[in-house]
Symmetry: C2
Subunit: 165 residues, 2 copies
DNA sequence: CCAGGTTAGTTGCAATTGCAACTATAATCC
DNA sequence: GGATTATAGTTGCAATTGCAACTAACCTGG
């Protein structure tokens, strides 16, 4: 009599190879890419990745609060707080208090912060371009789109194995 | 007379938005997915991600050395060493010394280690399946293939901004 | 107008990680 | 075959991170 599922006779679970496991592959690629960039930022600008993210956001949206920056960078508020204090010490970010709500800070890049941004953007773009040079234009937009959908889905899923209410 | 490049008159660099920057997007997705899984492994099995990786590799390839495990998991040897020592303490991995080279260890899962593997695999697969449920079968294989190519390329590239010899 | 609750941001502490130095074993090459 | 170099793995220390507790400011209802 046949088993219900194609598992082996001894009840073994089908093998799982890390090389084909999506979470693993994402993690490896993301680490490779991030450390390549982190190395470059650190060597040339004494900048960490969290700091670079803060700068990138403030360059586009000056005057945000720390909480708003956290939201846009997907960092937690502690990471933002520390990144900002480092950047402030380095004279790259200016922090004021909001006139109407003195808990909230108003963050902007200083001239030096802007200069760092202008220097890094071409580097960051060049790296991205070399990486994406692997793909044809249509593959790129395909990849981009799929990545976005997976991101959205991963947000909805929450913790693994929680068949959530 | 037109400028050579479409940069703004004041020499500004074209804006870079984090949301469209591939390294950032990879990092966010990878973090979301990894912490969902890490939470589940920790809660249910008191297992870290490095430990899970070691188990996954040893389940498929018993008898590897620590260095070989490091290679296959893309972890560094220190991380493997610590993961293995945790697993050994927990009675999930057995470490022997190779007869012909007493520097090298020979790692295998104990029965308990195998049991953990058999319990986790379905969980891991279920999560992956729910995540990939977002994509059609052909999109999945497309994504998989593109991911692989980007991984290979990222290895070749090395540190950003190093126009390497 | 003040008591209780909420929000913004910081700080302290514990756990994780990464790198370099170290130990022990093996291989190489005069 | 003994000194030199290389490899496997561990350990110690410093830097990073994450979480919880904390401070300060604001808001709301009675």
């Amino acid at each position: 009599m046949p088993a219900k599922k194609p598992s082996t006779p001894s009840g073994e679970v089908p093998a799982l190879d890390l090389e084909h496991f999506l979470p693993y592959r994402l993690s490896v690629l993301s680490n490779t890419v991030s450390s390549a960039l982190a190395g470059a930022y650190a060597r040339r600008f004494a900048l960490t990745i969290p700091q670079w993210r803060v700068i990138a956001v403030l360059a586009r949206s000056p005057g945000l609060s720390a909480a708003a920056v956290a939201e846009r960078t997907a960092m937690d508020k502690v990471a933002v707080s520390r990144a900002v204090s480092g950047l402030t010490r380095a004279g790259r970010v200016r922090r004021l208090l909001a006139a109407n709500d003195r808990r909230r800070s108003v963050l902007t890049l200083t001239v030096r912060g802007q200069a760092v941004y202008r220097q890094i953007v071409p580097l960051a773009r060049a790296y991205e371009r070399r990486l994406l040079g692997e793909l044809s234009p249509s593959e790129r937009s395909q990849f981009d789109q799929l990545l976005g959908r997976l991101q959205k889905r991963s947000w909805l899923l929450g913790p693994a194995g929680d068949s959530r209410v």
